[in-house]
Subunit: 341 residues, 2 copies
């Protein structure tokens, strides 16, 4: 039985989305059990719809919420009864709990997980690795997308290792093609940080390093993993989302500007609906915080029940495939190589 | 008469595009004259089509080209007969020359301009400021998009001043809304660099600072100028280009996947052509290197004659509206304020 904690508050959809997602996930994975933390009466009311699978749940009452308006460090100190703090405390104190899924405020999750949970042995800093669809029907991971702003070449190497192993473990991508996000593809591009990271990546046997990449190639399907510092990774992923959204909005507006376009679009309704679905990032799961001993998955705040279920499944798969212990092993080998080699 | 140097080699379209662009620009601005540097016989052959306006041109023979494959610093030393090096030498030695337009290799242009041309008094580092269309029918500038990778808070402040004055001078945008590219909109977001830059920007009377912005808002029309370090600015602009291109490619492919979509698209041909034109960055001019005493405009390598003409016009407008001396004045006032205030 794999047991995961679900923070039921903090997302836009409230308990309906989170506890609803719990039911979907429990339905799918018979050896999954969940601890739901939040507004207990509300949680129980949602779970009562499926008493059979609800037997594999426990609930913990923690009705307070940390929002995006709270300063993360203050929130950790002051909101001890919040669902997130209680979830993290449970995870920390109970060895039988494998991971956490939360749709709450990113800053608080990062701060809490970094400060209160242990890192995988040898990992310098945890990193986020969200997933986007690419134009060839596959996916691309971005590691780090915002957990750390200031990095070293060694941290970028670890991001590449963590991200590659994640894509293998959860998405079954064999030997993921990793590239270093840079301002050009040539080896000598960028600043010292990137040139040093390039050298480390090239000589690492645990990364299928394909060289530098530019932001314009992110969705092309040429790479499985973009390795980057949290600042530019965050800029890149938000720029993708914004550009896609704005462009589809513009096309929609333009369609409505002339009768003949509106007429033509009648025949393409299904296609446009599919494009929208294609770009709905919720379909690609949450953003996993890699490098933490216990899996932490940050779901989108606007996620519905099926998006939450997908996040639970990510945490479940990582535990089932022993992501953290395997990562510790590889990191140990790399560190040993760096010392002896 | 405003006299500008045109580097005729280095772009994909060769002399036909550059000298062709020269003719278009000369036709539009009667008090413009040009020095065309490159393959003299080729240039003369293009110019011979319009002997009347070609009277306002001079030509300089420099048939060698610096390509993207040349290492910029080596190229400067070794390719003394290249059109770019000759152009820069002319600009440096002749006070009557106001600026340079080149569609050549970016790295070489940056290196050459930075090393050989004087900076505007008080400016720490020059910056690129390309222009993108926004979804409200306006434009947005990005400063810096890749001239410098490592910045200080003071440099980010200067980028904001340079970019704002550029949008006012060339595009007539009154008091441009400038925002600092960051990982979130809240004041305390990002690293120390961004928090310090935020404080400087907020207290500067020469910038209409509206706070932090995320990459997802770049095209929304809420901001006129994104202020950023060259690394993340470069990542952002290339990600916009890549996402827009990949998405339109996907839509096109999807249209061809079913007969009914193809039929519907027949009525929307003009709309799709307009979307394509809207996203054609060549329509928005070249990327100006701000902070150099003489204007340097980098045109897209794939630019045709009308794109080159637009770049020439940008250099012409900056000179006509005395961009550089006005910038020097403002920078002086800011530095004085920083010392006395």
């Amino acid at each position: 039985m794999i047991k995961i904690v679900l923070d039921c508050l903090g997302g836009d959809g409230g308990t309906a989305a989170t506890a609803g997602g719990a039911l979907l996930a429990l339905d799918r994975d018979p050896d999954l059990s969940l601890v739901l933390v939040g507004d207990e009466p509300e949680i129980k009311s949602v779970l009562s719809a499926r008493p059979g699978i609800a037997r594999r749940t426990e609930t913990v009452h923690a009705p307070d919420v940390i929002t995006g308006d709270d300063k993360p460090t203050d929130a950790i100190r002051l909101k001890k009864d919040s669902s997130l703090i209680k979830s993290i405390s449970l995870l920390r104190s109970d060895d039988s709990l494998a991971g956490l899924v939360s749709t709450g405020a990113t800053g608080a999750i990062v701060a809490c997980a970094t400060l209160r949970l242990g890192r995988v042995r040898g990992i310098r800093r945890p990193a986020f690795c969200p997933i986007l669809p690419n134009m060839k029907g596959g996916i691309v991971g971005i590691c780090d997308s915002g957990a750390n702003m200031e990095v070293t070449p060694e941290m970028l190497l670890q991001y590449a290792v963590m991200g590659s192993m994640y894509l293998e473990t959860v998405f079954g991508i064999d030997s993921p093609r990793a590239a270093l996000l840079n301002v050009g593809t040539e080896e000598e591009k960028g600043d010292d940080l990137h040139r040093e990271a390039f050298a480390l990546l090239r000589s690492c046997p645990y990364v299928n390093f394909t060289g530098n990449m530019e932001g314009r190639e992110l969705l092309s399907g040429r790479y499985d993993l973009a390795v980057c510092d949290g600042f530019s990774g965050n800029v890149m992923i938000k720029t993708v989302e914004g550009t896609a959204l704005q462009l589809m909005k513009k096309i929609k507006k333009d369609i409505y500007s002339r009768g003949i376009y509106k007429f033509g679009a009648l025949f393409m309704k299904r296609m446009f609906a599919e494009e929208k679905e294609f770009m709905n990032y919720q379909n690609y799961g949450g953003s996993v915080m890699l490098g933490i001993e216990k899996t932490v998955v940050k779901g989108h705040g606007s996620g519905d029940a099926s998006a939450v279920a997908r996040c639970i499944e990510q945490a479940y798969t990582m535990e089932k495939n022993a992501y953290a212990p395997k990562l510790a092993e590889v990191i140990e080998k790399i560190e040993a190589g760096a010392v002896t080699g």
